[in-house]
């Protein structure tokens, strides 16, 4: 399928740094924070002032952006920006290796 091929080629060129900067941008836009003020260690709720509704919205934006599906059990576990980056990175690598 063309859509699938399209996603794969796109995922193949995405580096972890790129995932990190895109995640920071999306999180920053959702929470009204400058991306440069966001660190991987930042807790989305206690450091960045997110709530569980915003957290879900962030995950949904990220799914759209990277053309991935984040399983609910992974979404449930996410606490820091680094958790999001790692999850996305694993999902991108996993779907590429399939």
């Amino acid at each position: 399928m063309t859509v699938e091929n399209d996603c794969r080629s796109r995922q193949a060129v995405v580096s972890r740094d790129r995932v990190l900067s895109d995640v920071k941008r999306i999180v920053g836009e959702e929470l009204g924070i400058a991306p440069e003020d966001i660190e991987e260690t930042c807790d989305l709720v206690s450091d960045l002032g997110s709530d569980s509704l915003t957290l879900v919205e962030i995950v949904m934006q990220i799914e759209d952006h990277f053309a991935i599906t984040v399983p609910d059990d992974l979404g449930e576990k996410v606490q820091t920006v680094g958790d999001v980056v790692e999850g996305v990175w694993q999902l991108l690598r996993g779907s590429r290796d399939d």
């Binding site: 709530d51 995950v59 949904m60 609910d72 979404g75």
Partner: protein, 138 residues
């Protein structure tokens, strides 16, 4: 005219069980206390609610969920039906009585987004879509 040298206070007002609360960032509370010359309340241990029985995240979620549901023109029963959750569950979430899991919040967000798109659909069908989202919030 007062010179505005103070940072803007970004807070949310919520009502839970008839009691009004204000949610604001801890750093802003600390700032206000310092300016007012009152003792800064001690930091709450990480992961536990600052006041017993009161969960900031739950309150914030409840308040924003109600606002978004109303903006989408949905009743509580209608949103529950669309999201495929029990009306009593949604009622408890909106009253800040329970913390929904990720999957439940996602169902609610998806249902609200779909309702918002339906609301916009008549306006969009007559002309080409320009601004996809100009939703609330200043």
């Amino acid at each position: 005219m007062v010179t505005n040298k103070h940072p803007a206070i970004d807070c949310r007002r919520v009502e839970l069980d008839g009691i009004r609360y204000v949610i604001l960032r801890e750093t802003q509370l600390d700032y206000l206390c310092r300016e007012a010359g009152i003792d800064v309340p001690g930091p709450s241990p990480a992961g536990s609610p600052p006041v017993e029985g009161f969960d900031l995240d739950r309150a914030s979620l409840a308040e924003r969920l109600v606002r978004r549901r109303l903006a989408a023109g949905l009743s509580q029963a209608e949103l529950a039906r669309r999201a495929g959750i029990r009306p009593e569950t949604l009622n408890r979430i909106e009253r800040g009585r329970t913390t929904p899991d990720f999957a439940t919040v996602r169902k609610l967000v998806v249902a609200i987004n779909a309702a918002e798109r339906e609301k916009l659909a008549p306006a969009l069908s007559s002309q080409t879509r320009q601004e996809p989202d100009n939703d609330g919030g200043k």
